[in-house]
Amino acid sequence: MNAPLIWIGLPLALAGVLLLIRNARLVSILGSTAAIILTGLAWFLPLDTVITLGSYAFKVAPSFSILGRSLTVGAGDQGILALFYGMAAMWFFGALATPNGRPIVSLGMAVIALLVASLAVEPFLYAALLIEIALLLCVPMLVPFDSPPQRGVLRFLIHQTLAMPFILFSGWMLAGVEASPGDLNLVIQAGALLGLGFAFLLAVFPLYAWIPQISEESHPYAAAFILFIFPMTALLFLMGFIDRFAWLRANPNLPGILTSAGLLMVVSGGLWAAFQRDLGRMMGYGAVIETGLALLAIGQYQAAGVSIFALLIVPRGLGMATWSLSLSRLKSEAGSLRFSAVQGMLRAYPSAAVGVALSHLSLLGMPLLAGFPPRLALWEALARQSAVSAGWYAIGMVGLLIGLIRTLAVLSMAPDNTPWRWQDTWLQRVLIGFGLLGMLTFGLFPQTLQPLLARLPLVFEFLGR
C-alpha cells in the first residue's frame, strides 16, 4: 500500500463510481463520507512506519512511480491532505442542499485528487499538466450539458491555460538558474516568466475579469468551489516554488512584489465590490480579495506569513461555502442574483439572507467571525512594516463594507407589511446554521485551529521555520 494510492488513486476511482450514480443525495453522502475518511487517514495514519493490526502488518510507502514519474506524499504533507479532504467533505455535504450538487461532488472529488497529485508529483513541473486536466474537469461543473458555455467559463479556461506555458517554460529556465545563479539575465527572465504564470494562475489584477463573470453566470456553489480550490492549490504551488529555490527565497524584492500584488487585488477587488449590483459578482470580488489577502500573507514569509496564510484557509473555505450555498437558494427562487431580483428576500428566506450577510461580514473581517483573527494578524503585520500598506488594506475593506451595506439594504428592503415567512428548507437552515456556527467558533476561538497551524508549515522545508 502506498500513500499516493490512498489520497490520489482511490478518490479518482471513487469519482468515476460517483459519476455513474444518478441519486444526487446519495452521491453527496458517499462523497462527503469518503472525504471525511480520507481526512481522518491523513491526520492519523503514520507513513513509512510498520503498522500492526493483529497478525497483519503493513507499511504505507510515501512514493509511487508511474510512467517514470513519481508521486510522493511525505509525512509533512499530511496536514495539507487533511485540509484538502476536510474542506472537500464540507463542500460535498453542502451539495446536499443545492440543485446541481451531483457534478460538484463527483467531478470535485476527481479535481481534488488531481490537485493533490499536482502538489505531489516529481519532477514538479508536471504539476502544470495535472492542474490543466483538473481545469478541464471543472467545465461540466460550471456549464450544464444542455447549455452552451458562457463567456466567463471560456475566459476561465483561457486564462488558466495561458498560465501553463509560462510556468513550464520558467521551470525549464530555473534549472539553468540553479546551475549558474550568477547569470542575472537568466534570473530576470525566469523570474518574469514565473511571475506572469502565477499572475494568470492566481488571477492577479487585471487578469481576474473571469472571476466575477463566472460568479454571475454559473451556479454559485460550483463557482465558489472552483474559486476556493484552485487559488488554494496555486498558492501552495507558489509557496512550493519559493521554498524550493534559494535564489527566489533570498531575493529581497520578492516580499515587496507579493505584497504589492496582494494589495492591488485587495484594493481593486474592494473598490469594484462597492459598486456591484449582483450578489454573485459580489462573491466573485470577495474571492479576489481572499486571494489578495493570501498573497499578502505569503509576502510576510520572512516573519509569520506562513502561519497567517494557514489561518486564512479554513475561514475562506467556510465563508465561501456558506455564502454560495445561501446564494444558490436565493438564485433558485429569484432566477437571478441582481439587486432588482433579490430585493426584500430577507423576509422570505431569512437563513439564506443571513448566510450571505454573515459570510460577507466574515470576509470583511468583522470581529466575532472567522475572518477576523487572520485579518487582524495580517493587518498588524502590514502595519508594523508600513502605515501606507495598512492604509491601502483599509481602503480595500472600506469598498467591501460599502458592498456589504448595499447587499444588506437590498435584502432587507421589503415593501410595507410584507410578512415574515420561513421558506428555506430545513436542510438548508441546518447547513447554513452549521456554517454560521463554525464562523462564530473560529472567530471567537482561533486557537481551535492551532493543531492545523502546527502541521501545515511542515510541508515546507524552509518557509515558516
Binding site: P206, L207, A394, I402, I405, S412, D416, F445
Partner: protein, 519 residues
C-alpha cells in the same frame, strides 16, 4: 471570580427563560426566574468591589507570535459604575415589565439579559480587541432585532445605515490600533499617543451619533419600550466607556477646538430636538445624542471622570424615563428626583461633569450649558405627561413592584454620587451646575407659556421630507453614483469582447512601469 459569576448568572437565566419559552410558553412564573436571576447578578456586581482592580483573561488566542493580544476584561473604578448601571437597567426593565404588554415577554427578557452580558464585555474591555468583540456582538444583535421589528423599505434601509455607521466606528478603533503599531507602539488603553486619541474619540462619537452629527435611529416605532430601551442604552454605554478609558483630551492639539465645536453643535441640536419632541420615545435618539455630547465634551476637556458622570447619568436617568409607562402623580413627583442627578450641582453624581474649566474650554460653556438645560427641561416636560392607564387600575402587587423598578436606578444613581468612582463625590464647578439648573427652569417655564417650544409632530406617523442632515449626507450619493459609472465602464471594457486586448495592454503598461521603477 465575581465577574464570572455575574456573567454566568445572566447567561444561565437567559438560557433558562428561552427554554421555558419553548417548553412552557406564556407561563407568568417565568418572570420570577428572570427577576430572580437578574437580581442575583445585580447583587454579584457589588461583590466586584472586593477585588478591584482585577484583570480577567479569557482563553488566549494562539499562536502567540501572531496574536499579540487576547481578550481581557478589566474591573476598575471606571468600568464598575458602567457595569452596575447596565445590570441595574436590566433589573429595572424586568421589574417594570409586569405592566407592559406583552406579558410575559420571555424572549424579550432573555434578549435583555444576553444584551446586558454583551454590554458588560464592552464596558469591561481592557484592550481594543475585547472592545471591538463586544461592540460587534452588540451591533449584530441590534441590527437583527431592528430588522425583525421594523416594517417598510425605508425604515429597513435606515437600520442598515445605522449598522454601517457603527461598523465604521468599530473600524476606526481597529485603524487606530494599526496606526499605533506602525509608529512602533502597540495600542492599549493606558498609553494612547496624541496621534491615536482623535481616532478613538471619533469612533466613540460616531457610534453615539455625535461626531459627525447624525441620527442613527430616527424611525423606530416598533422598538419602543423594554428591549428597545436596553438596546439603545447598552449600545451607548459601550461607546461611552471608551471616553473614560482613554486620555483623549489635549488642550494643545489644534484639533481639540474643532472637535469641541462639532460636539457643542451636536449637544445643542440634541437638546433642542429633545425638548421639542412630541414624547420621550420619539425624542430618545436626540436625548442620547445630547447626553452623549456632554460626555464627549467632558472627555475632550481632559475630564474622563466627567465623561463617566454623564455616561452613567444617561443610562440611569433613561432607565426611569423610558420605562415609565403607567403614570401616577405621586410617582412622577418622586421620579423628578432624577433632575438632581442631571443638574451637575455640587455633590451630585454629575458634579464632576464640568471640571477643568480653563483656557479655551470656558468658551464652550456658552453652548454646553444651554444644551444641558434643554435636556433637563425636556426631561421634566416628558416625565410629566399623563399616560392612558393609571397605576391604581393595576393589580395590587404590581403597584409595589413597578415603582420599585423605577426607583431602583434613582437609588443607584444617588449611591454612585457618593462612592461610584474615584473623584465622584466632589463639589465640582458649582457655577456651571447652578447656571444650567436656573436656565432649565426658565426654559421649562417658557415651554409651558409659549408656542415656540410646542412639540413637533411625531415624524414617524406622517410622511416627511428630507431633513437638512439627510440632504447633506445625501449629496455624497451623487459622488458615489459617478464613481459607480466609472467602475462599470472599466469592468465592461475588461469583461467585454475586447477584454483580452485591454488586459494585455494594462499588463504591458504595468510591466513597463515596474521596469522603470526598478531601473
Amino acid at each position: 471570580m465575581f465577574v464570572l459569576i455575574t456573567f454566568l448568572l445572566l447567561l444561565v437565566t437567559a438560557v433558562s427563560i428561552t427554554i421555558l419559552h419553548f417548553a412552557r410558553p406564556g407561563r407568568p412564573y417565568s418572570w420570577l426566574v428572570a427577576g430572580g436571576g437578574t437580581f442575583m447578578a445585580w447583587i454579584s456586581v457589588f461583590f466586584w468591589q472586593l477585588d478591584m482592580p482585577a484583570l480577567h483573561s479569557l482563553p488566549p488566542w494562539k499562536p502567540e507570535f501572531i496574536f499579540t493580544t487576547s481578550p481581557t476584561l478589566l474591573v476598575d473604578g471606571l468600568s464598575w459604575p458602567y457595569a452596575l448601571s447596565l445590570v441595574t437597567l436590566a433589573l429595572a426593565l424586568i421589574l417594570t415589565s409586569i405592566i407592559r404588554k406583552p406579558f410575559p415577554d420571555m424572549l424579550g427578557w432573555a434578549g435583555t439579559l444576553a444584551m446586558t452580558a454583551m454590554g458588560l464585555i464592552a464596558v469591561l474591555a481592557d484592550n481594543p480587541l475585547t472592545l471591538v468583540l463586544g461592540w460587534a456582538a452588540i451591533d449584530m444583535v441590534e441590527l437583527t432585532t431592528t430588522l425583525r421589528s421594523v416594517n417598510g423599505a425605508e425604515v429597513s434601509e435606515k437600520a442598515v445605515i445605522a449598522f454601517a455607521v457603527r461598523l465604521t466606528g468599530l473600524g476606526i478603533v481597529l485603524w487606530a490600533s494599526m496606526a499605533s503599531l506602525s509608529s512602533g507602539v502597540p495600542l492599549n488603553f493606558e498609553t494612547p499617543t496624541a496621534l491615536i486619541s482623535p481616532y478613538l474619540l471619533i469612533a466613540a462619537g460616531l457610534r453615539l451619533g455625535v461626531l459627525p452629527l447624525h441620527l442613527p435611529y430616527s424611525n423606530e416605532p416598533a422598538l419602543r419600550r423594554g428591549f428597545g430601551t436596553m438596546l439603545r442604552l447598552v449600545s451607548a454605554a459601550s461607546s461611552l466607556v471608551l471616553l473614560a478609558r482613554v486620555q483623549i483630551g489635549n488642550a494643545d492639539s489644534p484639533l481639540t477646538p474643532v472637535l469641541l465645536t462639532l460636539t457643542a453643535i451636536a449637544a445643542l441640536f440634541g437638546g433642542w430636538q429633545w425638548l421639542r419632541a412630541s414624547d420621550e420615545l420619539t425624542g430618545r435618539p436626540f436625548w442620547i445624542i445630547g447626553m452623549g455630547s456632554l460626555a464627549v465634551g467632558a472627555a475632550l476637556r481632559s475630564n474622563p471622570v466627567g465623561s463617566v458622570a454623564w455616561g452613567v447619568a444617561l443610562i440611569l436617568v433613561s432607565s426611569v424615563l423610558f420605562l415609565y409607562t403607567v403614570r401616577q402623580t405621586w410617582l412622577t413627583r418622586l421620579l423628578l428626583i432624577n433632575l438632581i442627578g442631571l443638574s451637575a450641582l455640587p455633590f451630585t453624581s454629575t458634579a464632576s461633569g464640568w471640571l477643568t474649566n480653563q483656557g479655551i474650554f470656558g468658551l464652550f460653556w456658552l453652548a454646553f450649558i444651554p444644551a444641558q438645560a434643554m435636556l433637563m427641561a425636556g426631561f421634566v416636560r416628558h416625565i410629566r405627561q399623563p399616560s392612558v392607564t393609571s397605576l391604581t387600575s393595576q393589580p395590587r402587587w404590581t403597584q409595589v413592584i413597578y415603582p420599585a423598578g423605577l426607583l431602583l436606578p434613582i437609588l443607584i444613581h444617588s449611591m454612585l454620587a457618593l462612592w461610584g468612582w474615584d473623584g465622584a463625590f466632589n463639589s465640582g464647578t458649582w457655577s456651571a451646575g447652578l447656571a444650567a439648573s436656573v436656565l432649565a427652569f426658565g426654559i421649562y417655564w417658557l415651554v409651558r407659556k409659549t408656542r415656540i417650544f410646542s412639540p413637533r409632530q411625531a415624524h414617524w406617523v406622517r410622511p416627511r421630507g428630507q431633513s437638512t442632515i439627510e440632504r447633506f449626507y445625501g449629496s455624497f450619493w451623487g459622488l458615489y453614483k459617478l464613481a459607480g459609472r466609472a467602475s462599470a465602464a472599466i469592468a465592461n471594457a475588461l469583461e467585454g469582447d475586447g477584454g483580452m486586448v485591454w488586459i494585455i495592454l494594462v499588463l504591458v503598461l504595468f510591466i513597463s512601469l515596474l521596469g522603470q521603477a526598478g531601473g
